[in-house]
Amino acid sequence: MTNTRPGTFVVHTATFEGPLDQLLRLAQQGQVDLQTLPLADIAADYLAHARRDFDVDDVTETIWMLAALIELKARALLPQPPPPEEPPVDDASDLEELLEERLAAYRAFKDVATALRALEAYQQRVFLRPPDEPDEPLLSGVALTDLFRAFQEVLARGRERGAEIPPEGITVADRMAAVLALLAAHPDGVPFDALFPPEASRLEIVVTFLALLELIRLLRVRVMQEARFGTIRIHARIPQEGRSGAEAG
């Protein structure tokens, strides 16, 4: 079906001689040793041919066929992954066995869960003496309303300035990291206002406040206020295991 009109590009290599589309067809059928097929030479020949006899349709088609050959050869050159160690479970009895095994494992965990439930029930009836005073109060002298009042003050300041800085993808996670970094640099803690740089946009203020609330929830910071309406100070808190309240009476 190859039309060998004059001007049609013909491939000349040691192993193949003929039109390119035929070479491609044979390559796709696996009848050509792609490893030894000199694609660079063929491409160079074609470039020389195209300089003499240029036809847009012909060039488009030829480039496509060369690209297809390059892809085939690239695949042939790539090392083949070793066949999977275990053939996939196709045998019905194997599958059954696997399911059976899974089920047995799951049943074993259900059994120990029952045992753990008994231990839980026992231990929930044991009351320990609650610690007198948490030695590290999380919110000492600070009511949530104080925190929000301080937040509103900062927010109002942010509002007074006219131009809003366009949002730049401020995330709570980023602000949490920034607050922790600030606190790490100030072991004695920082005043509440210091969390909010003067140039902070409202978005940044809001997100920073959310970050602070999240850090309080995660027990990563302590918030203290010496006197009513006094300065609120934020301290880093050394995370410690235990005192989780999970077991305290």
Partner: protein
Amino acid sequence: MTDPRIREAANAIECVLLVSGEPVRLDQLVEAAQAPPEVVIAATELLQQEYADRGLEIQAVAGGYQLGTRPAYAEAVRRYLGAAGREPLSQAALETLAIVAYRQPITRPEIEALRGVRSEYILERLEERRLIKAVGRKQTVGRPILYGTTDAFLRYFGLRDLSDLPPIEAFGRGAPNAAAAGAPVNTSSEP
């Protein structure tokens, strides 16, 4: 006649356990009571004997000793505190926790393969309750987080350490075990 050194250490330990409100490790007791470990161990045994028919009991938990109320009197304590019972773990949470406890360190995909359902939410809740924690990352594609149990886990179930977990038959078929039947016995002297 009790060795006066043991009597003295036992009294000191009793005081420490009262104010602690959480498990106190052997080395902490040695430090507080200023007595050698063997005396402290003998003293805790003495205390456990003496508390045998009292309202309080001394438990060996999470690598230490703790003084707590005896479960038989939980109702009296609750009536006084006016507090409802603590919320037990959900069945799904308990099963997930069991898998973490026995197969730790373990990744979420491995847990999900065993349970056959997504477990992200449950793992987050367990982490929030401090019953499990990230203990590292598996050196495999995606470096998934490895989970393990915490000291709070041991206290929650009143376990001395992980070897104190109820025995599991690796792939056993419905092996019931003793711990499921009743209360644990906390008379061992080893922390």
